[in-house]
């Protein structure tokens, strides 16, 4: 009997194991009941939470997602249903892109009847412009403050971005998603039409179409709070739960005459810095096409660098030229403030004393009548020596534009500098410099730092019916215009650097500009980019290019700018793969002066494999992390303190919801049946010997 007792428990684990397997099957994704209930929305972009020293901006959802009945808002009148009339709050609004403005958003922010928002992109772009950035970008982190040019501080004199509504810098407590795919938007609208439209005068009946958005952010309040919590976790916990990450990446810099990147440049040697930014931002995470605000300027810069490197007597020039591409400038000048900090603390090969002058390119694609404006800082020009050098700089620039289809004009004394990396350098030293833009006062760009800053914004047009290869090689008018600007800049730089020869031979190549514009704005995964990157970087060439600085570095944009610059300004050297990847072992490699890249080469039409080769260039990366995080001054007002919150899952789905009455009826019926069955079982069990009369039992009782 003991054996039997022992074996009684043997099948127990098997049974429970199988039940658990069934439970697991029920909860795993993609099983058929779940597919009957939910339609996932795959092509969406969330709005995430960013924090700085004092505030949090962006959106937040609850930890198990926010659910609401869908309501499609295409006109302003539809909002009344959501805000007052609708009988089934909270609502999840599907907002037409044209209504995504400050007035509507502030109305939605103030009410508790809204549990989330899904925005569609307006096609075509809103004609009146749309910019969720600030009217005065990077205010307080530039050079103008109450101590320096107070009349220019806080955009008193010139509002640079008058279209800006500041939506990106508001804090919303409900999730906001962008619906990128028009087909998914149509599915949602169809569901709304089928179930949610009010019929007659009364509200719609259950079941109703609903949407659930998940975008729970872990960080709260400000950078100070979240970094403090993260550092506590990292110090004391075995499994640290970091809640936010600083925005960081790398600046790309290169010099015309190679310098020792680990040493220090001679203080007598003068350098001219050319700078552009390579990042942008929009309301939604990782949506930052940045055509006019970033790409136009750094593509022009790259073309000018290529043109200068082709000049024969660069090694004879009196002054060196440093081509710098700053990352993170959108968020209070992360890259340029870090470079200035490194220069001051002697961590960079150059020092601020080495800088002879500064030329910056900012938003140069939307020139009005071929005029390019030269902005200078009126406050520093009050110094005589600086004024002389600035005059010289402006004169050289004007001279260089002779013969080109660019006319350079000076902006008057009454105007300050626009938001630019040059302002951070001015904070440290009064360097003579100029910022070249296509706008005189307010931006020409009506979609500054928005999702509408697309190739259409800079008037890039391709004829119909071209294959990707043909589109890559086609030279647009925008490319020609940017190439002219690059030519002017290259010639001016040559003369500034002390070049004596005729500059008419210096020409930027429109074909290169066109290919770069295609690669950085339309399709990163093209044959040219594929041929100039490292073999193991193939995976980074994704679909639509975005130029957000992000927290994991380096981002695609930084990699590509680095490799494009290496390709345009470097030389091909005859080294094998091992020698190229380990240049310190090769004699005469001058490891400190040059960087060696092993690139995979182009694919011949007939061949199936690529022919890789080694490129030697003077392109280097320097870390672009705000000094506030190096110094652990998380509440700093001097350096950028932007961080991005962490999150676990971000997804969206739609489904039908049943009425509360049906749910309660189901529950009550279930409980009633349970109780009845328990009672019946007890009753039958108690009276079993009477109900199921077994003849021999009466015999036993009579015993």
């Amino acid at each position: 009997m003991e054996a039997a007792a022992g074996s009684c428990w043997a099948p127990f684990p098997a049974w429970w194991g199988l039940v658990l397997a069934a439970l697991a099957a029920g909860s795993c994704q993609g099983n058929s009941v779940e597919r009957k209930i939910y339609i996932p929305l795959n092509k969406t972009a969330p709005c995430v939470r960013l924090l700085n020293a004092t505030h949090q901006i962006g959106c937040q959802s609850s930890i198990s997602g926010d659910t609401g009945v869908i309501h499609v808002v295409e006109e302003e009148e539809d909002l009344k249903w959501v805000l007052a009339d609708g009988p089934h709050p909270p609502y999840m609004i599907l907002l037409d892109g044209n209504l995504f403005n400050r007035r509507v958003m502030m109305q939605l922010k103030g009410t508790s009847r809204v549990s989330g928002l899904a925005v569609t992109m307006a096609k075509p772009n809103p004609p009146q412009g749309f910019s969720p950035g600030l009217k005065c970008p990077n205010d307080g982190f530039g050079v103008y403050s109450k101590d320096y040019g107070p009349e220019f501080a806080h955009c008193n004199r010139t509002a640079w971005n008058p279209v800006g509504n500041g939506l990106s810098y508001e804090d919303f407590d409900f999730p906001i998603f962008l619906l990128e795919d028009a087909n998914e938007t149509q599915v949602i609208k169809q569901c709304y039409q089928d179930h949610n439209v009010p019929r007659g005068g009364s509200g719609p009946e259950y079941p109703l179409c609903a949407m659930q958005l998940f975008s729970h952010m872990h960080a709260v309040t400000s950078t100070v709070t979240c970094m403090r919590r993260s550092s506590l976790q990292s110090t004391f916990s075995i499994n640290p739960e970091v809640v936010c990450d600083p925005l960081l990446d790398y600046n790309v810099w290169s010099t015309l005459q190679p310098i020792n990147s680990s040493g220090k440049v001679d203080p007598e040697k003068e350098v001219i810095i050319v700078a552009t930014r390579i990042d942008s931002h929009s309301f939604f995470w990782n949506i930052a096409p940045g055509a006019e605000s970033a790409v136009s300027s750094f593509v022009t810069h790259l073309a000018a660098a290529e043109a200068l490197h082709k000049v024969s007597d660069v090694h004879l020039l009196q002054r060196n030229i440093m081509f710098t591409f700053f990352q993170g400038e959108t968020f209070d000048y992360i890259g340029s403030s870090r470079m200035v900090y490194d220069m001051e603390k002697d961590k960079f090969p150059l020092r601020l004393d080495n800088i002879h002058s500064f030329v910056e390119l900012n938003q140069v694609a939307l020139r009005n009548g071929s005029i390019l404006w030269m902005h200078t800082d009126p406050v520093s020009r009050m110094n005589k020596s600086v004024e002389v050098q600035v005059r010289n700089l402006l004169h050289i620039l004007s001279n260089s534009s002779m013969g080109a289809n660019v006319s350079l004009q000076e902006v008057g004394y009454s105007q300050p500098l626009p938001p630019s990396s040059f302002q951070r350098f001015l904070r440290a030293r009064h360097i003579p410099g100029v910022v070249l833009t296509d706008h005189q006062a307010a931006f020409q760009n009506r979609y500054y730092q928005s999702m509408y800053d697309t190739p259409e914004n800079i008037r890039m047009q391709y004829p119909e019916g071209l294959s990707p290869e043909e589109t890559l090689e086609y030279v647009t008018d925008t490319a020609k215009s940017l190439a002219e600007v690059a030519t002017v800049v290259a010639r001016a730089l040559y003369q500034l650097a002390g070049g004596a020869n005729n500059t008419s031979a210096i020409q930027a190549d429109p074909k290169t500009v066109s290919r770069m514009l295609y690669g950085f704005l339309i399709k990163m995964n093209n044959s040219w980019f594929q041929s100039i990157i490292k073999p193991d970087l193939k995976g980074i060439l994704g679909d639509v290019p975005q130029h957000y600085v992000a927290v994991s570095s380096p981002v695609n944009t930084t990699y590509l700018v680095q490799y494009v610059l290496a390709n345009l300004t470097g030389t091909v050297v005859n080294l094998t793969k091992e020698e190229c990847l380990n240049p310190e072992k090769t004699p005469n490699s001058e490891k400190e002066m040059y960087e060696y890249f092993w690139v995979q080469g182009s694919l011949d039409p007939n061949a199936t494999s690529r022919v890789p080769y080694c490129v030697r260039s003077s392109v280097h990366l320097s870390k672009a992390l705000s000094p506030a995080f190096e110094l652990r001054q998380w509440g700093s007002t001097e350096y950028s303190t932007w961080t991005e919150s962490r999150w676990k899952e971000i997804r969206a789905r739609i489904f039908l919801v049943a009425s509360k009455e049906l749910e309660i009826i189901t529950l009550v019926v279930g409980i009633a049946i349970l109780i009845i069955s328990l009672l019946a079982t007890y009753f039958i069990n108690a009276k079993a010997d009477v109900l199921f009369s077994i003849p021999r039992d009466s015999g036993a009782v009579a015993y």
Binding site: A5, P11, A14, A25, T666, V669, L691, F692
Partner: protein, 248 residues
């Protein structure tokens, strides 16, 4: 002492029989799903009518395998019963065949119900209900009722099946298998719930009455049970009256 151990182990072994029976049902389901899976793999995926036919075929194979395993379990229990009878004190096994039949049917029903409904329950926890692709919004509640009918049906079939096997009434056996096949086939009429749930509940009621009669119940015993409180007492008094002289 020996009797005490027997009675102590008897309810325990009843529970183990539950689990063993449930295990048998699971094995039958595993085999049936294997048959269906192999047949789907070998067939043309695109042909919807063929896939539906294969599903019906799979369901029929599953029903037949379940009944086969029920029969196999009956044989196993008969052997165990004889074993228990030989080692018990009074030559009779502690559990009657009827009890075994009931427990067998109930455990088959419970595990079958759990398997049917656990997947649906897990997805009903979320905020959504079925219907966005056009399915009926009453999916959950009808699934629950269907599962209840299935559990009850398995219990009744167990009782009838064991009785039929014991008394070698193969006609009743065939009728049980046929009604199982019919119930399984009726579920293919979903989501026309009136056409599928109605007949299934009628079948449940009829099978329940049949099982009640097979187990020994009758209309008279039901009436007796509803008014039988005094009779019990008198029988007990008689027993105690008989016992008292023995203690002298």
């Amino acid at each position: 002492m020996f009797v005490g151990r027997e009675t102590a182990t008897a309810p325990l072994c009843g529970k183990s029989r539950h689990r063993k029976r449930a295990f048998f049902w699971l094995v039958s389901l595993l085999l049936a799903s294997l048959v269906w899976f192999v047949s789907v793999r070998l067939s043309d995926r695109g042909d919807a009518a063929l896939q539906r036919g294969l599903l019906g075929f799979g369901a029929a194979v599953s029903v037949l395998l379940q009944e086969l395993f029920r029969f196999a379990y009956f044989k196993l229990l008969k052997k165990a019963d004889e074993g228990l009878a030989t080692i018990s004190e009074d030559g009779r096994s502690p559990i009657s065949l009827r009890q075994m039949a009931y427990v067998s049917g109930l455990s088959f029903g419970i595990i079958s119900g759990v398997f049917s409904v656990i997947n649906i329950l897990a997805d009903s926890i979320g905020p959504g209900t079925v219907g966005i692709h056009g399915d009926s919004p009453y999916y959950f509640i009808t699934s629950a009722f269907l599962t209840m009918a299935l559990v009850l049906l398995h219990t009744f079939w167990g009782v009838i099946f064991f009785d039929a096997c014991e008394k070698r009434r193969y006609g009743c056996l065939g009728l049980v298998v046929a009604s199982h096949l019919l119930t399984s086939g009726l579920t293919f009429l979903n989501p026309r719930y009136a056409a599928s749930l109605g007949p299934i509940f009628i079948i449940t009621l009829c099978t329940g009455l049949w099982a009640f009669v097979t187990a020994g119940g009758s209309f008279r015993s039901l009436l007796k049970c509803l008014s039988c409180k005094q009779e019990d007492d008198s029988r007990v008094m008689t027993y105690s009256a008989l016992r008292v002289p023995c203690e002298d």
